[in-house]
């Protein structure tokens, strides 16, 4: 039995349908309930639906053998796992955003609100810029509007949320997409299964 950790939400749904396309179907997903573990005895897999930021932790600690997670989370938490494929779905970018009329004051320490502390630290240290990180867990867009921070570092998909809040992208840090990751021990002990999934995903996504 292969345990697969998936992020709850839209990306998770996309990945589930991708996996059913390659023969790892799970009838339980159509039942539309709130179960967090979906078992598919017919394909010998078990899907674990977890918070997106926890997928890598499940995989690193071996509670899941493989998982699908956004590159943003991998960059920030740097888990010790194999990153086997870029699935090319869930595409977005990690970017710096600020108010539409934002003008940077280079004399002051920049206050940055984000949930991606490590990526933010690394990015600004590469620019040799002093910053103060304000760690938030959601509704990051509020921070510059209320003057809590000068800018934010967050995921930007279409930019609609930013526009609706009168914010704009100031700099792009890195493009993001969903990645297939694997636990290092599982990669050895369940190599045949993992390689089979990898090969079929490559085929269906024509990577």
């Amino acid at each position: 039995m292969l345990n697969i950790a998936l992020p709850k939400g839209r990306l998770g749904d996309q990945v589930l349908s991708l996996f059913s396309k390659i023969g790892y179907e799970c009838a339980a997903i159509y039942e539309n309930d709130r179960r967090l573990v979906l078992e598919s005895p017919e394909s010998d897999v078990r899907y674990l639906l977890v918070k997106p930021s926890d997928v890598a932790i499940y995989v690193e600690y071996g509670a899941a053998d493989i998982g699908v997670v956004g590159k943003d989370i991998l960059l920030d938490s740097a888990p010790d796992v194999y990153e086997l494929l870029d699935l090319g779905i869930g595409k977005c970018r990690l970017a710096v955003a600020g108010k539409e009329d934002y003008a940077e004051n280079r004399e002051a320490v920049l206050r940055v609100a984000t949930k991606f502390q490590n990526v933010t630290k690394k990015y600004y240290s590469s620019l040799n810029r002093d910053i103060e990180i304000i760690k938030l867990n959601g509704s990051i867009e509020l921070a510059p509007i209320l003057g809590l921070s000068d800018v934010i570092v967050d995921i930007v998909e279409s930019g609609k949320t930013l526009r609706e809040n009168h914010l704009k992208v100031l700099e792009e840090i890195v493009p993001v997409s969903a990645r297939l990751i694997a636990n290092r021990a599982s990669y050895l002990f369940k190599n045949d299964l993992i390689m089979d999934i990898m090969r079929k995903l490559e085929e269906v996504l024509s990577l």
Binding site: E83, D86, R184
Partner: protein, 376 residues
């Protein structure tokens, strides 16, 4: 009696003893060392360490000392080995390292083995075979990954990849991030032919014989071929003695090339989500200490055995005897002594302690012993 004593030990304690016996049988001697070492040793060899944060303090004479973050460095510095006379050690020591996952320092119980001197294929075989036997003693389902840093060093030297890019590439290779490796090579302007060679080498992984043959096809430099010759020779010895089956050759396994220049390996057992055993050839480290010697060894993180043994179903005692105040104490002790002599673990209490797991619980009243309840 001896068997009784062994039965009483926890599994991890028992394994440690079994492994000590194994290493002693192959002529390794136990190496004991102080918990402290001069901080300078670690400062000068920072990249050799898994975590570079070290607990330091001042000795009374003002010297800065460190709580050992690593054992191999001390052994390599203090060895009396020479080209004509090798030294073989094993150790069980605590080391102190920053644990990124918990964000604080941790005490790690480490068991390791080192072979220092002039090495040949047989010596490498011996250490890798002992690593295999170590894994087998811990769990019947185990795997070992083997790689050779000489293959990578020769390839990247031959292609003139500079040190900075090399470090980045190694990180991508270690994570099997081939898609990003491809992009990075493209971005760095690496020629298409060289890019192809690096990507092919990074994806070499699988059964030993098959992967070795594939690696041969890409071995365009002499150093690469020499690395494969060495792997092949060691593998032949391992296979001939029945230790070849669980070996995988995987060139995504890489280490810091300043210290590791030859065979490197990692061992996994089922139930532990990360490498339990890491090791390899570290002659480069000895050369840094001005010694023209070879060295190979490995270490096992004993704390990781907790993944295997944490949900112990074992009982704390075989018999819990709850005695009444008016019970005949002499009769009670005679009964307990008889059971203890039989090899049972017996606990006497006037009231049942919370959370105790006993195979059977008895009452000892003024009328003598009666069985209260029996657990599965």
């Amino acid at each position: 009696m001896e068997q009784n004593l062994l039965d009483m030990l926890r599994r991890d304690e028992r394994i440690t003893l079994e492994l000590r016996a194994l290493y002693e049988k192959y002529g390794y001697r136990k190496y004991r060392m102080s918990k402290f070492e001069e901080y300078g040793l670690y400062l000068e060899n920072k990249n050799f360490l898994k975590s570079q944060q070290i607990i330091t303090f001042h000795d009374l004479d003002g010297r800065v000392l460190a709580l050992k973050p690593d054992v191999t460095l001390s052994i390599a510095k203090n060895t009396h080995a020479s080209a004509a006379s090798s030294e073989k050690f094993y150790y069980i020591e605590n080391v102190y390292r920053l644990d990124k996952r918990s964000g604080g320092y941790r005490e790690i119980s480490q068991l390791g083995l080192e072979y220092i001197g002039r090495l040949d294929d047989r010596a490498s075989w011996e250490v890798i075979c002992l690593a295999q036997q170590t894994l087998a003693a811990i769990h019947p389902r185990h795997h070992m990954q083997l790689s050779h840093m000489g293959y990578w060093i020769s390839l990247l030297d031959g292609l003139n990849v500079d040190a900075l890019l090399r470090r980045e590439l190694m990180e991508l290779i270690r994570g099997k991030r081939l898609h990003e490796l491809r992009e990075r090579l493209q971005g760095a302007g690496v020629a298409p032919a060289a890019k192809k060679l690096i990507l092919e080498a990074a994806s070499l992984a699988g059964g030993f014989a098959q992967t070795l043959a594939a690696a041969r096809a890409g071995a365009i430099y002499q150093g690469m071929a020499a690395a494969l010759d060495e792997l092949e020779a060691v593998y032949a010895l391992l296979e001939a003695r029945g230790w070849g089956g669980d070996l995988m050759l995987d060139f995504s396994l890489v280490s810091d090339s300043d210290y590791y220049g030859g065979v490197i390996f990692q061992g996994f057992v089922e139930g532990v989500p990360r490498a339990l055993l890491t090791g390899g050839y570290y002659g480069n480290l000895l050369r840094k200490f001005g010694r023209e010697l070879d060295a190979i060894g490995f270490a096992v993180d004993l704390n990781e055995l907790g993944f295997l043994y944490r949900s112990s179903q074992e009982n704390d005692v075989d018999a819990l005897i709850l005695y009444d105040k008016d019970a005949d104490m002499d009769a009670l002790l005679t009964c307990a002594d008889a059971w203890i002599a039989e090899g049972k673990r017996v606990r006497l209490e006037s009231s049942a302690p919370e959370g105790i797991r006993a195979a059977a619980t008895y009452h000892f009243t003024k009328n003598g012993l009666k069985e209260a309840e029996k657990h599965a």
